[in-house]
C-alpha cells in the first residue's frame, strides 16, 4: 500500500505554526454531519451534542486521549476506516478498508483547538479531514 504523507497549510496559529482551519461546528452547519462522522466534543454546544447523538455522529474528547502517546480507533458507520492518532508526531494515519458496498463512502473527521487570541472571529479553530472512497 502506498503511504502518502501530506501536510496541509493555510494559516498561522498564535504560535506562528502552520495550520488548516475550518469553521464547521457552528450550529448552522450541523446538518452537514452524517452518521459515522467523528468530532471532538470538547467545545460543542449542548444543541450540537444533542444533534450528534441522535444522528450517529461520534463525539470524542480529544484532550484526555491525547495524553496517551498513540491510540487507534475504528471510525465510520461501517467502521471502514481505522484512524491512528499519534499526538507526539502530530500525525493521523488513516487505514481504509476495501469498498465492496457498491456505493461511494465519505467520512468527516473534525478536530478543533482553542485559540484565545486568534485573529479570526471565533474562539476556536476546527480542523477537518474528509475521507472519500470510490466503489468498483
Amino acid at each position: 500500500m502506498k503511504n502518502d504523507t501530506v501536510t496541509y497549510q493555510t494559516a498561522k496559529d498564535t504560535k506562528g505554526m502552520d495550520c488548516f482551519i475550518l469553521y464547521l461546528l457552528n450550529e448552522d452547519n450541523l446538518n452537514r454531519f452524517y452518521a459515522g462522522d467523528v468530532v471532538n466534543k470538547q467545545y460543542i454546544t449542548p444543541l450540537a451534542s444533542q444533534y450528534f447523538h441522535y444522528n450517529g455522529v461520534l463525539g470524542i474528547d480529544l484532550v484526555p486521549i491525547c495524553w496517551e502517546n498513540k491510540f487507534a480507533m475504528p471510525i465510520g458507520e461501517e467502521k471502514w476506516v481505522r484512524a491512528v492518532f499519534d499526538p507526539d508526531k502530530h500525525l493521523i494515519q488513516l487505514h481504509v478498508q476495501p469498498n465492496n458496498t457498491g456505493k461511494c463512502r465519505v467520512l468527516t473527521l473534525v478536530l478543533n483547538d482553542l485559540y484565545g487570541s486568534s485573529p479570526y472571529s471565533e474562539p476556536f479553530l476546527n480542523n477537518a479531514i474528509r475521507i472519500f472512497q470510490r466503489h468498483d
Partner: protein, 83 residues
Amino acid sequence: MRANVKLWRAIGICIIGILFVGCNTNLSATKHHASGKKNKSAHIYMDGSYVMPDDTRMFKYEDVFLNFNSKGGKKTVKYNQEA
C-alpha cells in the same frame, strides 16, 4: 437645502460601504484560490465548492479531502498544532 445635503451624504456613505465590502471579498477569493492550487499537487483537493458525487454535503469553507480508490489503503495527515 439641508435635506438635500443629508441625502447626498447618505448616498456617499453607501457607495463607500459597497466599495469596501467588494474589495474585501476579492481579497478573500484570491487567497482561497491560491491555497487550493498549491495543495492539488499534494493529493489534497482544496475547493470550497466541491460536491461529492454521491453526497450533496458541501462545506462553505476550505476543507481537506483524502481520496481512496475501492481497494482502500493508508494515508497519513500531518498537522501542526496540538489537537
